[in-house]
């Protein structure tokens, strides 16, 4: 086995009801220091694939092998829409919940975690809202808070589910430079249907629509995207050559 592979997905099948498959025969490696983007239209099974990799959903068949990595090493930034913004919790306390796997009801009730939390607050410039309720902050701030919660326990791999959906373009650029910086030390897996999220820092791209078409960074990407989205589609992103769109059939 290649030692640089962190997660190895093999011939994965998944359905929610036992009848209609959402994923069929998906295989995909995630490498150490990978920057993988999983693309596909709505309902293509991207999030399902991610949840299988996180161990939150159990596949019908196929295997996922983890090398030198455990669930505790996963950082996870969920979709905005699955997330209850009305909850009564402050940004600081919310980031602290990222450390929950280290909590023990008797042994380390009060171990010194505040420096870990404060480091995240500093890194993501959240000082001004650290003691505001989650419900009172903006979309971009919530995005950074979710990232801080995912990163506070030093994960080895960061999973992001549609992180660009509800943020403005400035926050988007911000996010992409944060991820680029993070990718120097940890692997990143981002799910998106937003083709502009593909920047030249991305190392691998996988296209999902029940089946998976996996790529390194090669020139056949537009062919696969066309297959997945069912129409010609053009990648327009930073650092990528812009091409003229083909006629839409």
């Amino acid at each position: 086995m290649n030692t640089s592979v962190l997660i190895d997905v093999n011939d994965l099948y998944f359905s929610y009801d036992g009848k209609n498959p959402v994923l069929t025969g998906v295989s995909l490696p995630i490498n150490k220091n990978d920057y993988l983007i999983i693309m596909g239209p709505n309902g293509s099974g991207k999030t399902t694939l991610l949840k299988c990799m996180l161990g939150l959903l159990k596949p019908d068949s196929g295997s996922i092998n983890y090398h030198d990595i455990q669930p505790i090493d996963f950082g996870y930034v969920p979709q905005f829409t699955t997330f209850d913004r009305q909850m009564p919790i402050r940004v600081y306390d919310f980031i602290e919940t990222g450390l929950i796997s280290r909590y023990h009801p008797i042994k380390n009730r009060k171990n010194n975690k505040s420096n870990l939390i404060n480091r995240q607050i500093e890194d993501f410039s959240l000082h001004h809202i650290a003691y505001s309720a989650i419900s009172d902050i903006s979309g971009g701030e919530l995005q950074r808070t979710l990232l801080a919660r995912a990163l506070v326990q030093d994960p080895k791999i960061l999973f992001l589910d549609e992180p660009t959906t509800f943020i403005d373009s400035e926050s988007k650029n911000n996010l992409s430079s944060i991820l680029q910086e993070l990718n120097k030390t940890i692997a990143i897996v981002m799910i998106t249907h937003d083709t502009s999220a593909v920047t030249d820092h991305v190392k691998n791209i996988a296209c999902v629509n029940r089946n998976l078409y996996y790529h390194g960074r090669d020139e056949h990407l537009d062919k696969s995207l066309e297959k997945v989205y069912g129409c010609p589609i053009e990648l327009i992103g930073h650092g990528l050559p812009h091409r003229v769109l083909k006629e839409h059939k």
Binding site: P78, P88, R90
Partner: protein, 269 residues
């Protein structure tokens, strides 16, 4: 105040204080987790247990407890499955429990007046046993919350994230439902099935827009609950109206006033 010299009045006020503690805590948790409907289902289903055990000649309150735990278990198990009709299932359990209860009361020979008191409760007839049960429950509840507050927050706010970080969701759900079921049964004795839901939900709905943190919401819900209970109790006593409904009316009026003030303040800021 002369009415305070009666034992049953003192008992009633003591029960009010003790129930405010557990309903403030449990109510805050269920409102934050949006499980109000579930609690309605469990409390009404337990009426079926009351009727069945009454028919069998057993303790009705024990029947309520068995069915409350059972229906909580069924609803909890169903939410583990990939079932879309979860809320509808709660509705069925709700209606089925009430119907079974009424059927058993009807086929039980003789008149069953004390079963009706379980619908609206009777705070003036609480016994020492009731008081001790609530005290024991409160101690267990408070120590559980104290020890497991942090994982509990993660469970309440983000089950998926909790599961990812090794929190045993099924175990938490089971314990959470068990605490809810026992609280419901304890409250049924004094305020009745119909009013359990209102007493659990009104105080947190009042405090939710006013405070940012769950511990503050829980603490203030206990205070609000105590205020509603005591003022409702005395109003009912002096106007000679039924206690339970008066308590709920006082709570609802307070809720409307607080929400109106919040709305006006937001509009003018």
């Amino acid at each position: 105040m002369s009415i305070l010299q009666y034992d049953f009045i003192q008992n009633a006020l003591l029960v009010g204080l003790l129930l405010s503690i557990c309903s403030g805590i449990i109510g805050s948790l269920i409102v934050v987790k949006r499980d109000t409907f579930l609690v309605g289902g469990i409390s009404h289903a337990s009426f079926g247990g009351l009727g069945l055990f009454y028919y069998l000649g057993l303790s009705p309150i024990l029947g309520a407890f068995v069915i409350a735990v059972l229906s909580g278990g069924i609803i909890g198990l169903a939410s583990n499955q990939k079932l879309h009709a979860h809320n509808a299932l709660i509705g069925v359990i709700w209606a089925f429990g009430m119907s079974i209860g009424i059927i058993f009361i009807t086929i039980t020979p003789g008149f069953a007046p004390n079963l009706l008191t379980y619908l609206f409760g009777d705070i003036l007839t609480v016994t020492q046993l009731d008081i001790y049960s609530i005290i024991v429950y409160n101690i267990i509840l408070l120590s559980t919350i104290f020890l497991f507050y942090k994982p509990l927050i993660v469970y309440l706010f983000d089950e998926e994230f909790a599961a990812l970080h090794g929190i045993k969701i099924r175990l938490y759900r089971f314990i959470y439902y068990l605490f809810i079921s026992v609280a419901i049964v304890l409250m049924i004795r004094s305020v009745g099935i119909i009013l359990v839901l209102a007493l659990l939900t009104i105080p947190p709905l009042i405090t939710l827009p006013l405070f940012k943190r769950l511990p503050h919401i829980i603490f203030m819900s206990i205070i609000v609950s105590l205020f509603i209970f005591t003022s409702g109790f005395f109003i009912a006593y002096y106007t000679n109206l039924p206690t339970g409904p008066i308590i709920i009316v006082v709570g609802t009026v307070l809720l409307l006033i607080v929400r109106l003030i919040c709305y006006l303040r937001k509009k003018h800021s």
